[in-house]
C-alpha cells in the first residue's frame, strides 16, 4: 500500500499547471465560449506537445502509454482553470476505448490533430461534439466510429458554454461498427465509468480553484472596517467546503487506480468518486458565490466560469444521488417488493 504519487507525477502536474496558468486564464475560457469549436486548437496542440493529449495512448501509437493514475492529477489541473479543451472526451474516454477496440483509428489523436468524443445512450447530448473530428457513438447495443463529416449535429445549449453538447445523427452501417454484443456492452460500461471518474477529477480541481478565489476575495474585501474573511460565518463556510474537497480527492485517486487495474469493484469506486466530487464542487460553488456577494452574481466576474462547469459536470454521468444509489445497490441488499 503506497497511497502517494511519485515525483514524476508531481513534476508533470507542475509543468501542466505552469502551461495552463499562462495559456488558460479566465479571458481565454471566455474566448473559447465565444468560438465555433468551443475550445482552442492551438492550446490543444500545446497540450499534445507536452504529451498530455496522448497520455493514455500506447507508446507505439505515439502516446505516453500511461494509465488513469498518471492522468488524474492533470484532470484536476484542467479543472482548476476550467479548461475548455476535450481532455475528458479524448484522453480519458475516447483514446483508451479506441486503443482497446480500434487502435487503427488512433491516427492523429496523440498529436492533437484528431479530436475524439464518445456518445453513450446514457447521455444523449454528446459533449464536445461540435469540435470533434471522430465520434464514437453507441447505437442499439453497438459502438460505431464515425468521422465528423458523416454526422448531423443539433446543438443543445449547456449551462457551461464550453461543453458544446449536441444531439448526433448518423447512418449506422456495417463499416462503422467497432464493437457489438458483449464486447460493446463492456466497453460502454467502462466508457461510462471513465466519464464519471474523469469528471470527478475535474470537479475536484474546480472546487479547489473556487475555494482559492473565495479565500483571496475574503482577504481583500473589507466591510465594517475589517476583511470579511475575519468573520466566522465566512470562515466556517469555506472550511466546511474544504473538508468536503479534502475527503473527495483520495476517493477519486482510488477510482483512478481501480479503473487502471480493472478492479472488480470498479463501479462502486467510481460511483463513490463521482458522488463525493459532485458534492464537493457544489458546496464550493455555493460557498464561493455567497462569499463574493453580488459581484459573484455577475457575468463579468470570473467565478461563474468555474461554477457553471461544476454544475454541468456534477449533473453529467450521474449526479451524487444517482451514484450513491449505485453504491447502495451493491452494498445493501435490495428490498423485496
Amino acid at each position: 500500500m503506497r497511497f502517494v504519487f511519485d515525483e514524476d507525477a508531481s513534476a508533470f502536474r507542475a509543468a501542466v499547471r505552469d502551461l495552463l496558468d499562462k495559456e488558460c486564464g479566465p479571458a481565454d475560457v471566455r474566448a473559447a465560449w465565444d468560438s465555433d469549436a468551443g475550445f482552442s486548437a492551438a492550446r490543444w496542440k500545446q497540450l499534445a506537445e507536452m504529451g498530455v493529449v496522448g497520455l493514455t495512448i500506447a507508446e507505439a501509437d505515439g502516446g505516453l502509454g500511461l494509465d488513469e493514475t498518471g492522468l488524474v492529477l492533470l484532470l484536476e489541473e484542467a479543472g482548476r482553470v476550467a479548461l475548455p479543451e476535450p481532455l475528458i472526451e479524448t484522453t480519458a474516454v475516447g483514446a483508451p476505448l479506441l486503443q482497446a477496440l480500434a487502435p487503427d483509428r488512433l491516427a492523429g489523436v496523440a498529436s492533437g490533430d484528431t479530436v475524439v468524443t464518445v456518445g453513450l445512450s446514457h447521455c444523449p447530448a454528446v459533449s464536445g461534439a461540435a469540435g470533434a473530428d471522430l465520434l464514437v457513438l453507441e447505437r442499439d447495443g453497438a459502438l460505431h466510429a464515425v468521422a465528423a463529416p458523416d454526422v448531423d449535429l443539433t446543438p443543445v445549449e449547456s449551462v457551461d458554454h464550453g461543453r458544446r453538447l449536441a444531439r448526433v445523427d448518423f447512418a449506422p452501417a456495417a463499416a462503422t461498427v467497432i464493437a457489438a454484443g458483449d464486447e460493446a456492452r463492456a466497453a460502454v460500461a467502462l466508457a461510462f465509468d471513465r466519464y464519471a471518474w474523469a469528471s470527478s477529477a475535474v470537479l475536484c480541481g474546480l472546487a479547489d480553484r473556487m475555494l482559492e478565489l473565495a479565500a483571496e476575495y475574503a482577504k481583500q474585501r473589507h466591510q465594517f472596517g475589517v476583511p470579511i474573511g475575519s468573520f466566522q460565518a465566512v470562515k466556517h463556510k469555506l472550511a466546511d467546503a474544504l473538508v468536503k474537497l479534502d475527503f473527495a480527492r483520495p476517493v477519486v485517486h482510488r477510482a483512478a487506480f481501480s479503473i487502471a487495474r480493472d478492479d472488480p469493484d470498479r463501479a462502486v469506486h467510481v460511483s463513490m468518486a463521482k458522488a463525493y466530487a459532485s458534492e464537493a464542487a457544489d458546496l464550493a460553488a455555493r460557498a464561493a458565490l455567497q462569499v463574493h456577494g453580488a459581484i459573484g452574481y455577475t457575468w463579468e466576474h470570473d467565478l461563474h466560469l468555474f461554477m457553471k462547469k461544476a454544475w454541468a459536470l456534477g449533473a453529467a454521468w450521474g449526479d451524487a444521488a444517482w451514484h450513491r444509489r449505485r453504491v447502495a445497490d451493491a452494498v445493501l441488499p435490495r428490498l423485496p417488493r
Partner: protein, 379 residues
C-alpha cells in the same frame, strides 16, 4: 515507486497474523464499561494480554514494547482490532497521544522509564489540559508550576480528564511563567495521581458513568525530570500531541469501518427505504475516511508532515461517527429510546466527538486561518 493501493504480501501476512490472534483472544463477553472501577481493571488486564502477545503498540519500537511496524501496518492492525469487536483502549490517551509525543520530545531516560510501562498498562495515563476557565481558549491555563530547587510545586485545577477517575498518571499543562503572555510560559509536566496534594473527583458523563474527572492540585511536588520538553515550551509540545490526536492516531478508520458494517447489518435486519441514502452515505464516509488515512500515512512515510490538515480530519471523523450512530438509531424507530439497545451508548459517546480534542468550531477557525490563510478574528 508509483501509486499502489494493493497490500503487499508482507502486509497481508501481518493482517492474517493479527486476525488469527484476535479471533482466538478477544473476550467472548464484552467487558464492563471502563468508566467503572471494575471495568477499568478488566480493561487493564486485557491491555496486558495484548501487550504480552506484542499487539499493544504495534508501531512502537521493540524496546518499548512494540513490534516496530510501519504506519500502514498500524492501520491494518486497527482495522482487524475493531473488526474483531475487541475492547476499547483504556490507555488511549497515553498510548496514542502521550506516547508519540514522548518519542519526539522525551529524554532517553524518560522514554525508557515511561514507554514500556505505558505499553504494559502498568501506568494508565490521563490528559490534564482543560481547566474550568480554559476550554477552547486553552492558552488561558492558570494552574501553576513553580520551580523550587529540583522540584516543581503544582497548584490549581484540571477538569474533564477522560478516565481520570481511575488513571495512574496525568500529563498536564501548567503555567511556569505567570508574567508571560498566554501560550508562552506553559510547561508540560508528568504527574503521578497518588502524590500528596492531588485530589481526584469523578464526574458522571451523559450516560451516568464516571467517564472523566476533575483533578485538584495543592502544593504537589514533582521532580524536574518529569518535565516533558523545555520549560515554557509546553505549548509546542501540546500542539504536537494535538496534531497526533486529531490527525492520525486517536481515531483510526478501523473503528468507523466496524461501525459502518454494523449499520449495514442493522439495515438488513430492519430495512427502511427512507433511510437508504443515509445508510449508504455513512458506509461511504467510513470508506472515504479509510482512504484519506492511508493517503496521510503514506505521505508521512514518504517524509511528509502533518500540520493544520489534522483539523480537517477531526471534523470529518466526529461528524461521520454522529451520522453513523444516529442513522442506526433512526433505523430502530421507537426502540431507539430503549436503554440497552445496541446503539444508544455509541450515540451518546459520538455526541462528544465534536466537543473533545478541540471543538469543531475551533477546528474550522484553524482551517480557515492556517489552510486558507484568512485573517485571525477577535474571537
Amino acid at each position: 515507486m508509483a501509486l499502489d493501493l494493493t497490500f503487499t504480501e508482507d502486509e497481508e501476512a501481518f493482517r492474517a497474523e493479527a486476525r488469527v490472534w484476535l479471533e482466538a483472544n478477544v473476550p467472548a463477553q464484552p467487558l464492563a464499561s471502563f468508566d467503572t472501577r471494575e471495568g477499568f481493571e478488566q480493561h487493564r488486564a486485557w491491555e496486558r494480554t495484548l501487550h504480552d502477545a506484542g499487539w499493544a503498540v504495534v508501531s512502537w519500537p521493540v524496546e518499548y514494547g512494540g513490534r516496530g511496524v510501519n504506519l500502514v501496518e498500524w492501520l491494518i492492525f486497527e482495522e482487524e482490532y475493531y473488526r474483531a469487536g475487541a475492547p476499547g483502549r483504556v490507555g488511549q490517551n497515553g498510548l496514542f497521544l502521550l506516547g508519540p509525543t514522548l518519542m519526539d520530545f522525551g529524554t532517553p531516560d524518560q522514554k525508557a522509564r515511561f514507554l514500556p510501562r505505558m505499553a504494559r498498562a502498568d501506568d494508565i495515563w490521563c490528559q490534564g489540559w482543560s481547566e474550568p476557565d480554559a476550554g477552547s481558549d486553552l492558552a488561558g491555563i492558570r494552574s501553576r508550576a513553580q520551580l523550587d530547587g529540583d522540584h516543581y510545586m503544582l497548584s490549581g485545577q484540571k477538569t474533564w480528564c477522560s478516565r481520570g477517575a481511575f488513571a495512574d498518571w496525568m500529563f498536564g499543562l501548567f503555567r511556569t511563567d505567570p508574567a508571560a503572555e498566554r501560550h508562552r510560559g506553559l510547561t508540560m509536566i508528568l504527574v503521578p495521581l497518588d502524590l500528596p496534594g492531588v485530589t481526584v473527583r469523578p464526574i458522571a458523563q451523559l450516560d451516568g458513568e464516571t467517564g472523566f474527572a476533575e483533578v485538584f492540585l495543592e502544593d504537589v511536588r514533582v521532580p524536574v525530570d518529569q518535565r516533558l520538553g523545555e520549560e515554557h515550551k509546553g505549548w509546542n509540545v501540546a500542539m504536537a500531541t494535538a496534531g497526533f490526536e486529531r490527525g492520525v492516531s486517536l481515531r483510526s478508520p478501523g473503528r468507523f469501518m466496524a461501525t459502518a458494517a454494523r449499520l449495514i447489518d442493522q439495515w438488513r435486519e430492519r430495512p427502511d427505504e427512507t433511510l437508504r441514502d443515509d445508510v449508504v452515505a455513512g458506509w461511504m464516509d467510513a470508506e472515504a475516511y479509510r482512504l484519506h488515512n492511508y493517503a496521510t500515512v503514506s505521505r508521512l512515510m514518504a517524509g511528509g508532515t502533518i500540520g493544520a490538515e489534522s483539523s480537517v480530519n477531526k471534523i470529518f471523523w466526529s461528524e461521520m461517527d454522529l451520522h453513523l450512530q444516529s442513522t442506526a438509531l433512526r433505523l430502530l424507530g421507537q426502540d431507539a429510546e430503549v436503554d440497552g439497545n445496541r446503539w444508544l451508548d455509541g450515540f451518546l459517546f459520538a455526541l462528544s466527538g465534536p466537543i473533545y480534542a478541540g471543538t469543531n468550531e475551533v477546528q474550522r477557525n484553524v482551517i480557515a486561518e492556517r489552510v486558507l490563510g484568512l485573517p485571525r478574528s477577535a474571537g
